[in-house]
């Protein structure tokens, strides 16, 4: 998982000027970058395996959610509960 501790923050101008270097660092050294423009976070450059790993871990997480659901008896419909909580009904 990407965490702020292993992400290098860089501004957009530096990212533009140094793009191929960042791309290589990301691919070869597994480094991640957060690109900011006017101090607003705009985009990440992350190694491709981070995305793949996240997909696998999220699918595994869904399996744990499924097992938890299976341990439950059928519950009240969330849509109607939410409508009540949102004060529609």
């Amino acid at each position: 998982m990407i965490t702020m501790s292993n992400i290098q923050v860089i501004n957009a101008t530096k990212a533009r000027n140094d793009f191929f270097n960042l791309l290589e660092k990301s691919f070869l050294k597994k480094r991640s970058f957060l690109i900011k423009k006017s101090n607003i976070p705009m985009a990440y450059i992350v190694p491709i395996n981070v995305v793949e790993d996240q997909k696998e871990s999220q699918l595994a997480l869904l399996e744990r959610v499924r097992k938890l659901r299976e341990s439950m008896t059928p519950t009240t419909n969330s849509t109607s509960l939410l409508r009540k909580m949102r004060r529609y009904e």
């Binding site: 999220q58 997480l61 938890l68 439950m72 519950t75 009240t76 849509t79 939410l82 949102r86």
Partner: protein, 151 residues
């Protein structure tokens, strides 16, 4: 490059809730999430989703629908879902307010998800068919759990 590969999605709390607890529509919500993850879609959510899901789980515990431990586990798993959260900015709240007025909604909760979808040009998916009927008039990229969604 297939630009649709990067299409993003906003899920209403009604969809996420069905994923976390056993109820009518849970299976469809689980299949939807699985497909979105497999397709590497970005799931964008307002931070308000957390408040709604925590409240909903608390409610189901108080209704004795689920045990406390099951609720805690559901929240722990929910917090590990890789959603891209957005804090509700004044702009987003103002858009939600305008949408609620257009749709004759007395509150802005649903519209918060819809306005985020509109702003991010994302697909909006809800399990609330009553809201969906109105949402479709405002935003064509609004879908139910039963819809086949093409990116």
């Amino acid at each position: 490059m297939n630009k649709n590969r990067f299409g993003s999605v906003v899920l209403d709390a009604s969809v996420v809730a069905k994923l976390l607890t056993k109820e009518q529509g849970s299976g469809k919500a689980a299949i939807l999430l699985k497909n979105l993850i497999k397709q590497k879609r970005v799931i964008v959510e307002p931070h308000f989703l957390k408040i709604e899901i925590y409240s909903l789980i608390r409610k189901k515990i108080s209704l004795k629908d689920i045990h406390l431990k099951q609720g805690q586990q559901a929240l722990s798993l929910f917090n590990q879902l890789a959603f891209d959260y957005f804090v509700e900015s004044n702009d987003l709240l103002n858009i939600s307010f305008s949408l609620a007025k257009k749709m004759s909604q007395t509150v802005i909760y649903d519209c918060l998800y819809l306005s985020l979808a509109q702003t991010k040009k994302a697909k909006f998916i809800t399990a609330d068919l009553r809201f969906l009927k109105q949402a479709r008039k405002i935003y064509s990229q609004s879908f139910s759990l039963a819809d086949k969604i093409k990116f």
